[in-house]
Symmetry: C2
Subunit: 284 residues, 2 copies
Amino acid sequence: MIIDRLYEKVQQNGNSCVGLDTDIDYIPGWLKEKCQSVEESLFEFNRMIIDATEDIASCYKLQIAYYESYGLKGLMAYKKTLEYVKSKGAISIGDIKRGDIAKTAQMYAKAHFEGDFESDFITLSPYMGMDSIEPYMDYMKNKNKGAFVLLRTSNPGAKDIQYISTDSGNHVYDEVGAQIEKLGQQVMGECGYSSLGAVVGCTHVDEGEKIRAQFAKTYFLIPGYGAQGGKGDDVKVYLKNGNGGVVNSSRGILLAYKKVEGGEKRFDECARAEVERMNGDFRG
Amino acid sequence: MIIDRLYEKVQQNGNSCVGLDTDIDYIPGWLKEKCQSVEESLFEFNRMIIDATEDIASCYKLQIAYYESYGLKGLMAYKKTLEYVKSKGAISIGDIKRGDIAKTAQMYAKAHFEGDFESDFITLSPYMGMDSIEPYMDYMKNKNKGAFVLLRTSNPGAKDIQYISTDSGNHVYDEVGAQIEKLGQQVMGECGYSSLGAVVGCTHVDEGEKIRAQFAKTYFLIPGYGAQGGKGDDVKVYLKNGNGGVVNSSRGILLAYKKVEGGEKRFDECARAEVERMNGDFRG
């Protein structure tokens, strides 16, 4: 089960998930000048970040929107980055938040669990219901793949739908979580967590302990750290013995060099220092 | 406003939205033999369908999952098909169901309202909240673009989240609809509908009249007709004087030729006959 591999990576390397939300504007001028195209610039930047962090990162999350925004050339860089992550023996998360049903979902599964855009985990949106999640289960059972379903996200708008109170006294996200945890029973790893995980933002800590206990077998992908305001102590609430979740940071890592004098030339080392700092923040 | 253009197309051509969910297996052997690649086969099939239906279709909806499943080559066919729809003066819907926030949403907007994958409308998923919809509004206000947000879909799993009863006596989808209708006020067209529409399946007719009245300014993209069980009378409940919605059919149109002896050779004519039949079914 892929979740056991992720669990082990966290044990060895720490909780930090490096978010490769790579905007061309993030890339230092000297590197762009060395490259012949947008595609090459995006890939080379990612490659250097991966080389500098592979032994201290739990996984790499690629936000596909950034690559889609550069069209076919951007998606070529997305493909090459995923292949590079794989060649390093590292774990990738395709942050695609797809959500559709039946044959369409099967097509998304084929797109992101095989072929050009193959990744180890993907993210999914549950609004259409559990029949928008089930078509991916076969890959989780038989092909060593996993997914994180949006549960309670880190943005202010999370209240608009996820926090709606239901007539049974829960929030909508409680119902979603219960359905995910139930479906996840089909793909339990030896580590005690399921390969079907959930996205839970760390910006709302008040119900953190409740959520961790309520969905005890669900592994968390945790956004909201750093740029969005979440702190190390906010994250710890969602972990169990230091595991049970990976914590994403994107700009915090990719742009760490901007806080260092002369950092442009060694943006990769600055990224590494930030990942080390993060790991300490969660374990400290 | 793009919604006025769509409204006019429906007045002239009828309600049928041709769903270009093009699977390589749908394409007759003789056409595939004439083509040099998957990319060319997908595009040529789409081109012939478009040529055969442009004067009787309201718009063309491309389900991007089908193209993503063929990787970069598939997405090249997606791009070429969108360009072809545009060159014909027809209206395109990129059925992408993206849903993300802040800069990520801006990147999706750039990806699908400009550049390689530019379409007139896109579909969006609301689970993350209204701040996952707002980043697209600027394109709707200033660049003649529109969107359809998932509200109440046509699949059985719709009950899992969309039908949850809230403590104020509504369904979750009622709350979503109210938020969409409110946000949509910013992009009202002269036709009385907003460029921010909603996806409402026609497979549940019981609350149809209520939904049509409740969201009177919201234009509907209506899936579920044909293959999923919806009938002409089910659709009419969601229309107002024959307008107010476009009705998608994909396999029903693309595979119409399979019901006709010798249909393979003239799959495009069979598609046209099916669109004509559909138009009659909604207006009859």
